[in-house]
Amino acid sequence: MTALLRYHAELLLRSQRWLPPAILYAAFLAVGVQGGQPVLDSLGYTAAGLLPVAAWLVRICVTGEPPAARACAAAPRGPARAHLACLLTALLAAALLGTAATVVLTLISDPASNGDRVPVPRPAAGAAGLSAVLVCALLGAAVGALTHWPLLRGAGRAVPAMLLGALLATVVAGSPARAAVSGLVTGSQSGRVPVPLLPLAGAALLTAAAFAVACALTARRTP
C-alpha cells in the first residue's frame, strides 16, 4: 500500500496537473481574505473553498493514469487497493493544501471576533480551522470519488456531476461541510471557537463509504 501511495503521489507531483487547482485556490484566498480580518471568518472561507479543490484533485489522480498503466499497477495487489491508493493520494494532497492555507491565515488574521469585540485565541482558532478544512477535504474527495471512474466515465458527464456535487455538499442542510463552515462563521460573530467534531466524524464516515463504493466497483466496470 505504501508503494502504491508513493507511486500515485509521484504521478501527481510530476504530472504538474496539481498546479491549476492549487493556483486557483490561492487566487480564491487572495481575493476573499486579507491579513487583519477576523480569524474564524477567514478560516471558514478557507475551508469552504477547499471542497471543490479536493474533488478536482481526485479527478486529476483518477484520470492521470492511462487504463493500461492502471492495469499494470493493479495486478499485484488487486484493482480495489490500487484505486484506494489513488483516492487517498488526492485526499492527502487536498489536506496538505488546506493545512498550509489554515496555518498562514491563522497567523496573519486578527485574533478577534467580528468588530473586534471578543478576543479569539489563535491556537484554538487554528485547531477549529484545521478540522473544518479536513471536513471539506474529506467531502470533496468523496464527491470526486463518486463522480469519476469507475462510477462515471468521460469528462462530459463527470465534470458537471462533480461541480454539482461539490456545490450541493457545500450548501445542502445537514452536510458536514456546511455545518463546519457555518460553525466558524457564527463563531466569528459570537467570539466562541467551535469544536466541529461531529461534522468531522460525519465527513469521515461519508467519505469512507464513498471510497468503499468506488473501490468495490473497480473490477466490475469497463476499464
Partner: protein, 296 residues
C-alpha cells in the same frame, strides 16, 4: 499435477465464470471452467473480439466475474495489449516504482529494472522519459515491468506485438524461465508459432465459451533443439529436465537424448548443469525436421 507443498492461493480456478459489461450487455464469456496450475504454460486462442482479453483480465483478477466464481490469488503481473507511454517518469524510474508496487524494496527494484532493461536491449533508454519512447521501447518497458518481481502468475496479452526479434526471443526465454521456476504463465498471441510446442494446455475461445484444444501442437520445423547429456553413473534424469523436454530417450553408455522446444533449451541446460551432482552436456543441436514430436 496438484502438489501438496504448493500454497492453495497459487492455484487459480475459474468455475462457471461469465462476464458481461453493463447490466443488459451481451455476454462476452459464459460458463468458463479453467484451472491454472503453478509451473504450467497456457495458451489462449480465438478470433478477434471473442473475449480473449476479457478472459485474461479475469485471470489477472483485474475484472470480477458477473457470474460464477474465481478462487486463488497468485501474485500476478499483467502485460496489456497496448501500453501507453504518457507517464511522467523515465523508463528506469517507472520500472523502479512498479517494482516496489510488486513488493520489492527500492534498491532491489532499481537493480531488477536495470537487469530487465538490459535483457531486452533497452538499457540505452533507461534515462529516457516514457513520453519519448517508441512503440517498441514502451512495449519493452511494459514487459519488463511484469518480470521484475518473479510473479507467481504472468498474464501476457499479445505482449510480443511491437517487440524486435531479439526482444521477442528474450521474452520467450523469460517465459520458459518463469514456468521452470514454478510460476504459471498464460498468454494470447496472434502468431501460431509463438512458443510452439511449449504450452502445457491450449484453449480456444469460441462463442463466449472455452474449449480445450485436444490436438497435440506440432512445433514448426527448427523450433526444437536436441540436447545429448550424460549423468553420473546410475543417476536418473532430473525430474525438472524430464518435464521441460518434449521427448527423452536413453542412448548407450548412460546418455540421454532430450528434445526440447528452442525457447526452453537454455533453461534445460541450466537445469542439467546445476543439478546435484551436475550432468555433462555432450552436444546441443537444432532438431532435424523429421524428428517426431510426441509428448511423453
Amino acid at each position: 499435477m496438484l502438489q501438496k507443498n504448493e500454497p492453495m492461493h497459487r492455484h487459480l480456478r475459474l468455475t462457471a465464470v461469465g462476464r458481461r459489461y453493463g447490466v443488459r450487455g451481451p455476454w462476452v464469456l459464459r460458463g468458463v471452467d479453467l484451472a491454472i496450475v503453478p509451473g504450467t504454460l497456457t495458451r489462449i486462442e480465438g478470433a478477434n473480439g471473442t473475449g480473449k482479453s476479457t478472459l485474461l483480465r479475469l485471470l489477472a483478477r483485474l475484472d470480477a466475474p458477473t457470474e460464477g466464481r474465481i478462487t486463488g490469488r497468485p501474485r500476478t503481473a499483467y502485460v496489456p495489449e497496448r501500453f501507453p507511454s504518457a507517464l511522467p517518469f523515465t523508463a528506469a524510474g517507472y520500472l523502479t516504482r512498479l517494482g516496489t508496487v510488486h513488493g520489492l524494496s527500492r534498491a532491489s527494484a532499481a537493480r531488477a529494472a536495470g537487469v530487465w532493461l538490459e535483457r531486452f536491449g533497452a538499457a540505452g533508454y533507461a534515462g529516457t522519459p516514457m513520453a519519448r519512447l517508441s512503440k517498441g521501447g514502451s512495449q519493452k518497458v511494459a514487459v519488463a515491468q511484469a518480470l521484475l518481481a518473479d510473479p507467481e502468475l504472468l498474464v501476457l496479452d499479445e505482449a510480443w506485438t511491437g517487440l524486435d526479434a531479439a526482444a521477442r526471443a528474450e521474452l520467450e526465454r523469460a517465459v520458459a524461465e518463469r514456468t521452470a521456476a514454478g510460476g504459471a504463465v498464460v498468454f494470447v498471441d496472434h502468431d501460431p508459432r509463438r512458443l510452439a510446442g511449449a504450452p502445457d494446455a491450449t484453449y480456444i475461445v469460441v462463442d463466449g465459451g472455452l474449449e480445450r484444444r485436444t490436438a497435440v501442437d506440432a512445433p514448426a520445423a527448427g523450433a526444437c533443439a536436441v540436447v545429448v547429456a550424460r549423468g553420473p553413473a546410475g543417476a536418473r534424469l532430473p525430474a525438472e529436465a524430464a518435464r521441460l523436454a518434449v521427448s527423452a530417450e536413453e542412448t548407450a553408455h548412460g546418455g540421454h537424448r532430450l528434445t526440447v522446444p528452442a525457447a526452453r533449451s537454455d533453461v534445460l541446460l541450466r537445469t542439467l548443469l546445476t543439478a546435484r551432482p551436475p550432468w555433462h552436456v555432450v552436444s546441443v543441436a537444432p532438431a532435424p525436421p523429421s524428428i517426431p514430436e510426441t509428448r511423453p
